[in-house]
């Protein structure tokens, strides 16, 4: 979309600008309240940003110095090399994927029944629903790294704690998403089941579950994708996976191996994205037919 010569219409409009102004004053009149609102909002944002930058010790000198060092690091990263530890890294990557898979699937299995308890069209009791919802919120608001720290205290260092951490934090997130999907499900199939003499359980099993299952499956796949990313970092607190090596190598400035690890992670995530994107489309497409 490069600059083109102005069209005849534009030329005519520009030539007759004064006339246009006179004939349509309301179009050209500035709206002061709106402008004040825009400027005021921007001022609040900028003011808060300035305050935050002062409070958080931003300094141009540090940024420039840091950028210089980052440039050095970038130079040190080339060429990426495994440093003869390819097998070790590959195992760690496999462990990371295993953590993500275990965590997501466990969370999904646990969240599936719990989400029905939080859905308005399944549980009419508002107190139970409210309680389950707030439970999801609390579990969700604790970051996966914090869950990892807690589980390490229980099962010791290693990938098992990581899988449990992902399962916990996802349980809250998936529970919330699942219950929303269940609430927005089409009522017609359920009414059909009731009309043909089915009970409440029949309604859920034959009217609700088939309708929501594809949506839930696609959400689970999406979470698996995002968890492969989270699983790469829980090694930072000692919960297994590739993050452990990443932390160590960054600390000792083995930048070539760091670059190699990051490339491995990028490739793995891209692959998982591709596969799960296909699967998601297949599942959702299957539901549409």
């Amino acid at each position: 979309m490069s600059r083109r010569p102005p069209s005849a219409l534009r030329r005519a409009a520009l030539a007759d600008l004064d006339g246009l102004r006179q004939r349509h004053p309301q179009v050209f009149r500035p709206s002061w309240p709106r402008r004040a609102a825009v400027v005021g909002t921007l001022a609040v944002f900028v003011g808060l940003a300035a305050f935050a930058m002062v409070r958080l010790d931003f300094s141009l000198l540090r940024i420039l110095h840091g950028l210089y060092r980052l440039g050095e690091f970038a130079g040190m990263m080339l060429p990426p090399s495994a440093g003869g530890r390819l097998g070790l890294f590959a195992t760690a990557l496999g462990e990371t994927l295993a953590i993500a898979f275990l965590g997501t699937l466990t969370a999904a299995c646990l969240a599936f029944p719990a989400a029905f308890l939080a859905a308005r069209n399944v549980v009419p009791n508002p107190f139970l629903r409210f309680g389950v919802r707030r439970g999801f919120d609390v579990i969700r608001s604790v970051d996966v790294l914090i869950w990892a720290l807690i589980w390490i205290n229980v099962v010791g260092l290693g990938p098992f704690a990581g899988a449990l951490a992902i399962a916990c934090s996802d349980f809250g997130a998936l529970g919330k998403l699942f219950s929303e999907a269940i609430e927005t499900a089409d009522r017609k199939a359920q009414e059909g089941v009731i009309a043909s003499g089915g009970g409440r359980l029949h309604r859920v099993r034959f009217g609700l579950v088939p309708a929501v299952l594809p949506v839930l499956a696609s959400q689970v796949l999406y979470f698996f994708e995002s968890n492969t990313r989270s699983a790469t970092i829980i090694g930072i607190v000692g919960a297994g996976g590739i993050g452990q090596y990443l932390t160590e190598l960054i600390r000792v400035l083995e930048m070539q191996q760091v670059a190699f690890l990051v490339l491995m992670i990028l490739a793995a995530v891209a692959l998982i994205d591709l596969v799960s994107g296909r699967l998601r489309r297949a599942i959702i497409g299957g539901a549409a037919h």
Partner: protein, 294 residues
Amino acid sequence: MTVRIEKLPPDRERRLLAAYAGAVASTRRRTLAVFVAIVALYLLAGWMAEVRPLTFLDNIQNFTAYLGQILPVLTLANLPADVAAWYWGLPKWLGLLAETLLMAYLGTLFGGIAAFLLCFLASANLVRSAALRFCARRFLEVCRTVPEVVFALIFVIAFGLGPMVGVLAIAIHTAGALGKLFSEVVENIDMKPVEGLTGTGADFVQTVRFAVVPQVLSNFASYALLRFEINVRGAGVMGFVGAGGIGQEFLVAIRNFYYSDVSAILLLIILTVVAIDLGTERLRHHLLGREAHA
């Protein structure tokens, strides 16, 4: 009112039933195959992640015991003093919490600005050059695939310890995540205003300003708020790698077994995150609702 249902002739009924049974059986077989595959993968993953169910069962009482330990001793008779003792470090923690929120705010703001500038370049309906689009998209992808903690780890060494590092790490990750969402919004706009402006000879910036931005701004703001909520959670753990915020204090409390501090800080974090969640959800509904009315 009774309705008589005509029965089908027996052989026709038999044929139809057989076809139905066949169809159901093939679906069942497929479901079973998928189920078996998932279970096999689950077991494989369990083996790779060194899952020890027995240890887990043995130690599960550790979990409850741990929860019991971190909970403070609160007695009804002496409640105010007990709470005061539990939250002995409240002023310091509130300061750190404010720092965490500011980190999330700045990170979202900077990342949002970068995403805003980049998203138009990554949109297929505005940029004709496939090479430029490809570069913008890959850049955003790298920004969002590398977790923010990894950026923070590297930046801590380059820039030194402190909250500034956390802000930069959050900003980069946010730019990647928001850039993708923003460009998806831009790709779904109504193209008529764009064509109109292009027809009058407007250049790229003018087209974006007057044809695209008015259509997408409320969606952008809603996504940015969603991201802010996520970043508050992320900023809370930046301290684990020395990048500022309340995470550092929390890590020290957990590692040194300052039990009641763990629960005190955890509760503060949870309350903050839930409050921000509820607040941004309201704002987002308000924003999107206004767009629906317009």
